[in-house]
C-alpha cells in the first residue's frame, strides 16, 4: 500500500518573466516502511519533489496523494494539519528553534498537537532523546551543541509525533562524513524499529548506499529506480 503516490506531476517556477520547469511529469509510488533515497545533481529537482511530498508546496499539474489524501484538494489549514500529524521533517541546516532547549524543541510538535497529557508527553520526548543518544543534553540550547548533536535533535523532533512519513532534505550535507554516517544509521534504526517511512535526498553516494532503494532524477525527470540491499557496504 503506497503512502505516497505521485501522478504525472509537473512544477515550474517563475524566475523574473521566464518559466523555469523544476519537475516534468514525474510519477512515483512509495510504500510504507521504505528507506528511500532521492539522488541527483544539484538543481535536478530533488528538493522540489520533497517539498511536494511534504505538502509545503503544491504542484503546477498532476496529483500528489499523501496517506491517500489529495493534497491539491486540501486547504492551507488542512495541509498544515496533515504535516503536523503525518509527516516529520529533517532539514539540511537542522532548523532548530534557537531560543528553545533541546527538550523543548523536540516537545514543540507535540504541544502543537496538544493531544498528550504532560507526563506522557515528557516520557515520549525523553525516551526519544535517549534513543537518539542525547538524553544528557536535554537542557542545552541548540547553539551549545555540535552539528551532529543538533541533527540528532532534529531527528527526534521529526519522529516525536510518530509520523507515518519522515522527509529529510540533504540531512548530512552540513556534517562531516563520519557524523553523517551515524545520522543515517540512526534514521535507519528508527525505520527498522517503528516501520516509519523515510525519504531523504542526497548526492553523496556513500549516504545513498544505506538506502533500501534509490530514485534518480535529472532535469526534473525520473531517470530510474534501483533496489539496494541497504547495508551501506
Amino acid at each position: 500500500m503506497a503512502i505516497v503516490s505521485v501522478r504525472d506531476v509537473s512544477k515550474s517556477y517563475m524566475l523574473g518573466k521566464t518559466v523555469v520547469p523544476a519537475l516534468r511529469g514525474v510519477t512515483l509510488d512509495i510504500d510504507r516502511g521504505e528507506f528511500l533515497s532521492i539522488a541527483g545533481p544539484s538543481g535536478s529537482g530533488k528538493t522540489t519533489l520533497l517539498n511536494l511530498i511534504g505538502c509545503v508546496d503544491t504542484a503546477t499539474s498532476g496529483t500528489v496523494l499523501v496517506g491517500e489524501k489529495d493534497t491539491r484538494r486540501l486547504t492551507e489549514r488542512q495541509l498544515t494539519d496533515l504535516r503536523l500529524h503525518t509527516i516529520g521533517f529533517i532539514f539540511q541546516s537542522f532548523n532548530l528553534v534557537q531560543v528553545l532547549s533541546v527538550f523543548q524543541n523536540v516537545e514543540f510538535p507535540l504541544l502543537l498537537q496538544g493531544s498528550l497529557a504532560r507526563r506522557e508527553r515528557e516520557k515520549r520526548v525523553m525516551d526519544l532523546l535517549e534513543a537518539v543518544g542525547i538524553g544528557g543534553y536535554r537542557r542545552h540550547r541548540p547553539s551549545e551543541l555540535s552539528g551532529g548533536q543538533r541533527q540528532r535533535v532534529a531527528v527526534a523532533r521529526a519522529l516525536v509525533t510518530r509520523p507515518a512519513l519522515v522527509l529529510a532534505d540533504e540531512p548530512t550535507a552540513n556534517l562531516d562524513s563520519q557524523t553523517g554516517g551515524t545520522i543515517i544509521d540512526l534514521m535507519k534504526e528508527m525505520n527498522h524499529r517503528d516501520g516509519t517511512t523515510f525519504i531523504f535526498s542526497t548526492h553523496d553516494p556513500k549516504v545513498m548506499s544505506h538506502a533500501s532503494a534509490v530514485i534518480r532524477i535529472a532535469d526534473g525527470q525520473l531517470v530510474g529506480r534501483e533496489e539496494l540491499n541497504g547495508t551501506g557496504d
Binding site: D57, R83, F89, N95, Q98, L111, S115
Partner: protein, 710 residues
C-alpha cells in the same frame, strides 16, 4: 481545548524567549514605549489638574456653572475679556423677569446678575491732592475761623505745595534743555515756564495770604497741569448684586476694608489690581524684587531685578513730592540712622541710598522702606474709604460718571495673585447701570430736576432749528448774557449733594433686580448635571420668550477657556506625533526582526504551526513589550508626579498660569484616567506597530525552511 492551550503556552514561551534573546532591540523599543506612556501620564495628569484648577478659578470667581446673556448680542460673552477687548452685549432689560423664570428650572440654585465693563478712574495726582487740602484750609480761614490747629495745618499744607512747586520746577528745568524752543509750541512753553518761575518765587509765597483764592486758582489752573503724573487709570469691574455675588462665589473675600453694606452703592477694588496699578511704583518694584528673591533669584544675576533697582533710583521723586517738609525731615532723620549715612546728607541722597540695593542689604532696606517711608506716604492712589469717580462711555456714546465709595479690596482665594481674577473689581449694580447709561429711576428724576431748575424746554428734533433761531429765540439766549459772576456754592452744591445722597441711599432687592444686566451667572445645586440643566435653562428661556443664550462656564470664560483647549490640542498633537514616530520605529525594528527569523518561522510552519500561531506569537512579543514598559512608564510618571508634588509643585510663573492652576503652583494629580489612557495608548501603538511585521511573518511559507543558506 487542550491543543490550543498547549500551543498557546509554547507560543508565549517562544515570544518571551525571543524578547530576552534580542535584549538590545527589546530595550530600545521598551524605552520608546516607556517614554510614550510617561509622557501620556504626565501630560494628562497635568492637564487634568489645570482643568480642575481652571474649574475652581472660573466657577469660584465669576463664571458660576452656567452663564446667560442676550442672544441678540453681536459678540459672544467673554467673562475675562476677549482678544479684541470687552464683548459688546445687548442688555437683559429686565433682570427680575429672567431671575423669576430661571430660578424655577430644576437644579438652578442662584441667578446672579452681572455687567462687566471697563471704566476710567480718576486717581488724583499729588499736586491735586495737596491743593485740595490747602483749599479746604483756605475756605475755613476765609470763613473767619481762627483755630491754632487749623493755622498750623494751613502752614504745613502751604509749605508742602511750595515744595512740590519747587520740585516741579527742578524737573521741568531738566526737560527744558531738550525742548525745542523754536518750534510751534514755543510760545506756550515759554508762558508755562514764566508761570512756574513766578509760582516758585519768594514774592509769590510772601504774597499768598493777601489773595488766597487768587493764588490758589493760579496754582490750580496754571501749575497743576504741568505735573506729568498720571491722574487716571483703567479699571475692570463687574457690576452685580454684591451680597448675592459673595454668596454665589465662595472664593471671593475681603482682603482689606469691609463689605459694601446691604443695598448700598459702593465698590470693592481688586486687590491684585491695586497692587499692580494703584500702588506706588517704587513700592511695587520692591515687592516684586522681594517675591523673586524668595523664589531664589538674585539681583546680581537677574536682569529684571537689576532694571527694577535702577528704575527705583529714578522713581524716588514721586516719593519726595508726597512728603511735606515736616514728614520729609522725619523720614530723613530715620533713614540717616537706619542707613548709617553721614550727617547732613539730604533726603534725596538718602532715598537714592535706600533704593540702591544689592542682594546683601536688600532685606534690611526693604524693611526700612516699609517701616519708615511707607507709613508717611500715600502707598496706593486709591484707598479704602475714598470716594472715587468712575467714568465710562455709556450706551448713548457720552461719558457718564458715578461717584462711589471704596469699601474695601477684594480678592479670590487660591487665585489671589492671578492677573485675571485678581484684576476684577466688584461694583454695585445701580452704579453699573448709571455707567452703562441705561436710565434708572434716580437718573430720570435727577434729569427732571435739572430741567426744571434750568428752565429747559423739551423740543422735537425736527423743530429744534426753529425753536433756537426762530422768532422767539431772543428770549432763550438772553438769559445768561448779563450774569458775569459764577456762583461757586450753587454749582458745587448740585453734584455733591447728589453724590452724598446716593451713597447713603439703601436700595431694596426689588430695586436692584428690576433693571438692566448684561449677563447672569447660574449656580447649580448639582454641577454634575450641568449639561442637562443647560438644556433645561435654554428651553425655559425660549418658552418664556426671554431670548437668552446659555453657555457653560468653560465657553463663557472665553480666551481663558480657549487657552486650555489650546493646551489640550498641543498636548494631543505632540503625543500623536510622538506615537506616530514611535510606531514607525517599532514597526521597523519588528520588520527587521521578522526578516531575520524567516527561516525559523518557515520551519515552524513546516512542522505544523498554523498561520494564526505565527501571527499571535509576533503580536504577543510587541504587546508584551508595550504592556511591561508601558506599566513601567506609568509607574515612573506616577513617581514623577509624587516628586513634583513633594517639591512644591510646578510654579505658576505668569498671571495666566496662576489663574489656570488656581494657585501659585500646580499640583499635578495622578488620576486613574491618566494611567488607563497611557496604557491603552501604548498597547494600541504596539499592536499597530507589531501588526504589519506579524502579517509578514504569517505569510512566510514553509518552503522557506528548506532554503539552504549560502
Amino acid at each position: 481545548m487542550g491543543s490550543s492551550r498547549d500551543a498557546f503556552r509554547i507560543l508565549l514561551r517562544i515570544a518571551f524567549r525571543n524578547l530576552s534573546a534580542s535584549r538590545v532591540r527589546t530595550i530600545i523599543i521598551g524605552l520608546i514605549v516607556l517614554t510614550g506612556s510617561l509622557l501620556v501620564v504626565l501630560g494628562t495628569s497635568a492637564l487634568a489638574s489645570i482643568d480642575q484648577g481652571m474649574r475652581t478659578s472660573v466657577q469660584g470667581s465669576l463664571g458660576g456653572h452656567l452663564q446667560v446673556y442676550n442672544a441678540a448680542s453681536p459678540d459672544p460673552l467673554e467673562l475675562y475679556g476677549g482678544l479684541r477687548g470687552e464683548s459688546v452685549l445687548e442688555p437683559i432689560v429686565d433682570f427680575a423677569r429672567v431671575k423669576e423664570v430661571l430660578s424655577k428650572v430644576k437644579n438652578v440654585k442662584m441667578v446672579v446678575p452681572m455687567g462687566i465693563d471697563q471704566a476710567m478712574v480718576a486717581t488724583g495726582s499729588v499736586i491735586d491732592i495737596a491743593l485740595e487740602r490747602l483749599r479746604s484750609d483756605v475756605r475755613r480761614l476765609e470763613a473767619g475761623e481762627e483755630d491754632p490747629v487749623l493755622l498750623e495745618s494751613y502752614r504745613a499744607h502751604l509749605s508742602h505745595v511750595r515744595r512740590i512747586v519747587s520740585l516741579l520746577k527742578d524737573d521741568l528745568s531738566h526737560a527744558r534743555v531738550i525742548v525745542d524752543l523754536q518750534g510751534r509750541e514755543a510760545a506756550e512753553r515759554k508762558a508755562e515756564w514764566a508761570d512756574l518761575t513766578r509760582a516758585a518765587s519768594d514774592e509769590f509765597w510772601d504774597g499768598f495770604d493777601r489773595d488766597r483764592y487768587g493764588a490758589l486758582e493760579f496754582l490750580e489752573n496754571k501749575i497743576a497741569k504741568l505735573s506729568m503724573e498720571n491722574a487716571f487709570t483703567f479699571l475692570r469691574y463687574v457690576g452685580t448684586d454684591v451680597d448675592q455675588f459673595f454668596e454665589a462665589f465662595p472664593l471671593a473675600e475681603i482682603a482689606e476694608g469691609e463689605m459694601i453694606p446691604r443695598g448700598h452703592r459702593g465698590i470693592l477694588v481688586g486687590k491684585q489690581y491695586a497692587e499692580e496699578w494703584l500702588k506706588l511704583k517704587n513700592a511695587r518694584r520692591l515687592d516684586q524684587i522681594e517675591e523673586r528673591r524668595a523664589r531664589g533669584k538674585k539681583i546680581a544675576r537677574d536682569e529684571d531685578l537689576q532694571r527694577w533697582v535702577k528704575e527705583n533710583g529714578s522713581g524716588k521723586k514721586e516719593i519726595l513730592l508726597q512728603l511735606d517738609p515736616v514728614k520729609a525731615e522725619e523720614v530723613a532723620a530715620l533713614l540717616r540712622r537706619g542707613l548709617k549715612a553721614p550727617e547732613g546728607e539730604d533726603l534725596e541722597a538718602l532715598m537714592g541710598r535706600l533704593f540702591d540695593t544689592t542682594d546683601r542689604d536688600f532685606d534690611e532696606k526693604y524693611q526700612l522702606f516699609y517701616e519708615v517711608v511707607a507709613p508717611r506716604i500715600r502707598l496706593y492712589s486709591i484707598n479704602v474709604g475714598d470716594l472715587i469717580t468712575i467714568k465710562a462711555p455709556s450706551k448713548s456714546g457720552y461719558f457718564s460718571s458715578v461717584n462711589v465709595k471704596v469699601y474695601g479690596f477684594i480678592q479670590f482665594r487660591h487665585v489671589e495673585k492671578s492677573g485675571i481674577a485678581g484684576m476684577m473689581s466688584v461694583l454695585d449694580l445701580m452704579s453699573f447701570r448709571d455707567l452703562y447709561g441705561y436710565m434708572t429711576k434716580d437718573k430720570a428724576e435727577e434729569i427732571a430736576a435739572i430741567k426744571k431748575s434750568a428752565g429747559a424746554k423739551e423740543i422735537e428734533r425736527d423743530q429744534a432749528e426753529a425753536e433756537l433761531f426762530g422768532e422767539g429765540s431772543a428770549s432763550l439766549l438772553g438769559g445768561d448774557t448779563r450774569q458775569t459772576r459764577i456762583d461757586e456754592s450753587k454749582i458745587l452744591g448740585g453734584p455733591r449733594a447728589r453724590a452724598v445722597d446716593l451713597s447713603t441711599r439703601v436700595y431694596s432687592p426689588a430695586e436692584i433686580e428690576h433693571g438692566v444686566a448684561l449677563n447672569a451667572a447660574l449656580i447649580l445645586d448639582d454641577p454634575g448635571r450641568l449639561a442637562r440643566t443647560q438644556k433645561d435653562v435654554q428651553r425655559a428661556s425660549d418658552e418664556a420668550g426671554l431670548g437668552l443664550k446659555v453657555l457653560d462656564w468653560e465657553t463663557a470664560s472665553g480666551v481663558v477657556g480657549q487657552f486650555v483647549i489650546m493646551l489640550r490640542i498641543v498636548l494631543f498633537v505632540a503625543l500623536f506625533i510622538f506615537f506616530v514616530v514611535a510606531l514607525v520605529i517599532i514597526n521597523n525594528a519588528m520588520v527587521m526582526a521578522t526578516l531575520q527569523r524567516v527561516k525559523e518561522i518557515g520551519t515552524m510552519r513546516a512542522i505544523g504551526a498554523q498561520r494564526r500561531f505565527v501571527l499571535l506569537m509576533l503580536l504577543v512579543e510587541t504587546v508584551t513589550v508595550g504592556l511591561v514598559f508601558g506599566l513601567l512608564g506609568a509607574a515612573l510618571g506616577g513617581l514623577t508626579v509624587a516628586v513634583v508634588r513633594a517639591a512644591g509643585g510646578i510654579p505658576a510663573t505668569s498671571d495666566m498660569l496662576n489663574f489656570l492652576f488656581a494657585g501659585p503652583a500646580l499640583f499635578p494629580t495622578l488620576g486613574l484616567g491618566a494611567v488607563v489612557s497611557s496604557l491603552v495608548s501604548v498597547v494600541l501603538v504596539s499592536v499597530l506597530s507589531g501588526f504589519y511585521p506579524a502579517l509578514l511573518a504569517m505569510r512566510v511559507t514553509p518552503v522557506e525552511a528548506m532554503a539552504t543558506e549560502e
